[in-house]
Amino acid sequence: MNETDILTGVLLDDEALTLDDFARACAVEPDWVVRHVQAGALGGVHEVQIASWRFRSADLRRARALLAIERDFDANEELAALVADLVDEVRRLRTRLHVLGLPPD
């Protein structure tokens, strides 16, 4: 490969991942993904047919966060989802404070 080539990537929000690609990107078995979607821990999927499930940027970030919590703490999957929810909420609130020009503490 020529290292001076300019590479053009694709945003996951423009071209979403299939279940298999998404599972590979998370380095998990597709079963892990299916289980977490069905438990409501991973969102953004409304299709009934698993084959038509698609995953975007926010799903990838979320799945990797869940995996890190489950792995680092041998965490129960429901608890990991709750922790991820709380972390997301803290981030959302911190961003709110920041855009309104308020200090984080």
Binding site: E3, T4, D5, I6, L7, T8, G9, V10, L11, L12, D13, E15, L17, R24, A25, A27, R56, S57, A58, L60, R61, R64, D72, F73, V87, V90, R91, T95, R96, H98, V99, L100, G101
Partner: protein, 303 residues
């Protein structure tokens, strides 16, 4: 390269049991979790902890690390033994390659041999851009250290430089997928995922595709209203400040946030700034206002 003391990173003895190592790691990884920690170096510390635990938490990697560590003190320069796998060391190594050594060793031992066809692993990395890059699109150069096979089939860690096009309209947290730019594998390379992060900007703040900007205004501009010139990420614009504005008033410039379908909005947060009363003339003007304008900002407050 420098020998890293992973036991010290986790604050455990070299004789610690796997259970103690796990406990120490969990305690510290919670303490330094970047989302909750107040420690200034939380990110770097978390990386160090993960690196240490990745090796010490795996019996095979720990054994290899202990083997390597015999006769080496922390910080000391060392060369890995020549019989260590099929590693070839390229020049210009930094300390992170120390971690890669074990990452790769573990993989090789678990999956090596047998002729099993395996696609290379996907790589995840983050890329920081400026807000203006999101408005206009840009090309960024990033460096990755990845194992690569030379013509003799040996694996060496190589620094790879990539020029990546960042499309116009990206927002924080979006993932850019570069097909085939991940780790090499016998059944083809994996993909590279780049998470878009925005570098902090002194003037503009971003939430999704909306952008916020604080705009200082003089008391008369806020009170009487009028046109002011504001510099925005997409250039200078003339904005009409409504009469009777106060500090904190939000003006929305529709579609002037990050471009897209639909584009975000730009919010101007007005901040009334008082002129200093440092000259006789300024003081006289304030005194005139105090005398001639009936105004009590605390009216309605209970005593």
């Amino acid at each position: 390269m420098e020998f890293k003391d992973y036991y010290a990173s986790l604050g455990v003895e070299k004789t610690a049991s796997p259970e103690d190592i796990k406990k120490a790691y969990r305690k510290l990884v919670r303490k330094y979790h970047p989302d909750v920690s107040k420690e200034p170096d939380a990110d770097a510390k978390t990386k160090e902890l993960n690196e240490a635990y990745d090796v010490l938490g795996d019996p095979e990697k720990r054994a290899a690390y202990d083997e390597l560590g015999r006769g080496h003190r922390p910080g000391q320069q060392f060369r890995p033994p020549p019989d260590w796998g099929d590693f070839e060391y390229a020049g210009g190594m930094d300390s992170d390659i120390f971690a890669d050594l074990f990452a790769h060793l573990g993989r090789g031992q678990r999956r090596g041999g047998g002729g099993f066809q395996m696609r290379g692993e996907d790589i995840h990395a983050a890329m920081s851009i400026g807000l203006r890059d999101a408005y206009q699109g840009t090309t960024r150069t990033i460096s990755l250290r990845v194992p690569a096979r030379d013509e003799n089939g040996r694996v060496a860690m190589q620094e790879r430089t990539l020029n990546v096009t960042v499309p116009k309209g990206v927002t924080p947290g979006q993932q850019l997928r570069l097909a085939g730019q991940g780790q090499p594998g016998s059944a083809g390379p994996g993909d590279l995922y780049l998470e878009i992060q925005f570098a902090p900007d002194p003037r503009f703040r971003v939430e999704g595709h909306h952008v916020y900007e604080t705009v200082p205004v003089a008391p008369w501009e806020a009170a009487l209203g009028g046109e002011i010139e504001v510099s925005t990420p997409s250039g200078a614009v003339s904005v009409n400040v409504p009469a009777g504005s106060q500090s904190g008033r939000k003006l929305r410039l529709k579609g002037r946030g990050i471009p897209g379908q639909p584009p975000g909005d730009l919010y101007l947060l007005l901040e009334v700034v008082l002129p200093p009363a440092t000259t006789d003339q300024a003081r006289a003007l304030y005194q005139t206002m105090a005398r001639e304008m009936p105004f009590n900002p605390r009216q309605g407050e209970r005593p």
